[in-house]
Amino acid sequence: MNERTGVDSSLEGRANELFETRSRESAAKVDRLFVFIMLGTWLLAVLCALVISPYTWEGKVRSTHTHVYAAIFLGGAISSLPVYLGLRRPGDVMTRLVICIGQVLWSALLIHLTGGRIETHFHVFGSLGLIAFYRDVRCLIAATVVVAADHFLRGIFWPESVYGIAQPEWWRFLEHAGWVVFIDVFLALNILRSRNELREMCFAQLQVKEIAERVGRIEKLAAVGQLAASVGHELRNPLATIRNAHRYLRKRISGSEPVVPDAKMLEFFDIMEREMNASSRIISDLLDFSRPKEPVRAPCPIPALVDEVIGVVPSRGNVRLVNAVPRTLPVPDVDKDQLRQVLVNLVQNASEAIPETRTGEVTVRAKASERGGIAIEVVDDGEGIPESVAAKVFEPLFSTKTKGTGLGLAIVRDVIERHGGRIDLRTSPGVGSTFTLTIPVSPGVSI
């Protein structure tokens, strides 16, 4: 369970990260769009000023109308910073805020240049629509504040430049602001919805990716498993033949007269035997993994089984193996051979976790757990397992040892799960590790 929530929260975290990246990318695209809009608006404004009111007459002197200068210089002032930021810092929050403010300042300038024409006010609404492309409510707020402030201040000091008349009603400002807020509300709702959609899409995308990876892994394992099974089977007969031939030769040679012609021969016979045994074990591992057996259950007293296990595990002088399982432990219905294999594996691993340079202890203890199960613990005071390794120890083909198939603990977990139980690992580097097997006493009980 813990493992699963761990995976989930990290998935959520990564989904958020992906969402942030996507949002930034899309904001950067809008930034570039605004660079063109800003430049285009400026150009258009200058053209309009030149076409509509290029000259003005002051008495008998013809001069370029101030509107043209306003279009060139004020427009340039409004457009230049947004264009600069849009080109140099696309995607930044500051860039889009500056651009949005620039965009509504353009509205203000155009309204002023057209003498407060009502039609030009529509530019504000168009701008808000464009700003909504950012899918960022902050941009709407910034733009709205600037529009409101502009209307308010100009309404007081220069009403004809914004309302087209010198004496507007006192509530004109509120009417304008009201319409802006009206459209803001819907744009904001839309933004929130589309952000949620994007967030969900990011999550779904990661989930799909994760599932695809998991399926890929499982398929790979299945392929490996099938290959392993067929290779294992095919190797069994040749290995048996070699074993028989070896045994025959060895018997004949050690019984021959004169005694063995070469001392090395006996030694090599030993080496051959050892390596054949190692090969047999590897083959068994492969077959156990690729063709898991259904447990054949019978009552199996654990204390005696642990004695057996301790007798089988190769002894290391510096490690003491202790059977601390109480005789009163309930007797579970399990496959004795499979559970023996599990415990041999765990005890041997535990024993190997203790460095040769010091003494240590491996203890097997057990107790009745709640809900009709038993919990068997294999405890060592060895080196512990680093966190990065601990997360993977039950994965097939994962091994930190130079020898071995990396299937041992995967098989252990598989066997325990087939018994309706589960295996947990607690470890702290330098202190030791504890593997806990929780198994229901009888097959019907779930724990």
Partner: protein, 243 residues
Amino acid sequence: MTREPSILLVDDEDGLRSTLAANLELEGFRVFEARDAATALAWLEDNDCDLVLSDVRMPGTSGVELFLRLRKSNREVPVVLMTAFSTENQVATAIHHGVFAVLPKPFDVEAAVHTLRRAIAGPSVLVVDDDQTSADAAASALEAAGLSVRVAYGAEQALELAKTTTVDVVVTDVRMPDVDGLELARRVRAHDPDVAVMVFSGYDVPELLSRAASEGAFACFRKPFPVEHLLDRIARARAQAKA
């Protein structure tokens, strides 16, 4: 025993068969080889042997079918199978029809020889229970599967049978009035340490079962248990080296 015991060895793998035959001859058996079940059956028409040792997977007739045919034609010769496939349904069928043992390949010749000698001796399973009905039921179930079985309704009688007849597996109730199953197991094994002891109990007594297991009981059962499990354990015990 004046002559060497004879074995008919059936395996389609030439290398495996000839090397195994050589080892068995080294151990004092007379070995006849057959490369498939048909050859083996034809050979058995005119000849006799003390044991058939056959591979399970062979082209044509499998080792299990060979065994079933021998049983059908009332040949009582003991059969031991060997297989590299541990999870075969066929093997279960053979066990439930009373094949003596199934050796997993690759196996140790020493351990195999132990099993083969046992099989040739033709031992019985001794069922012990003070509840006569229950004892008889278990015995007839095992007999129906083709095993040789003896029954005792008490420890004294059981001990007597174990001493006077060839018994290699004792299946006993844990709780009995005079001498309990554990004590019986101890005495039987004092007489012959190779005997495999299996205990069963009517109700759950963890301490007793734990003690039985720690004293070397090969398997424990809780009544009621399917006879297939018992057959399985017996075949397994017989395939194993000495305890």
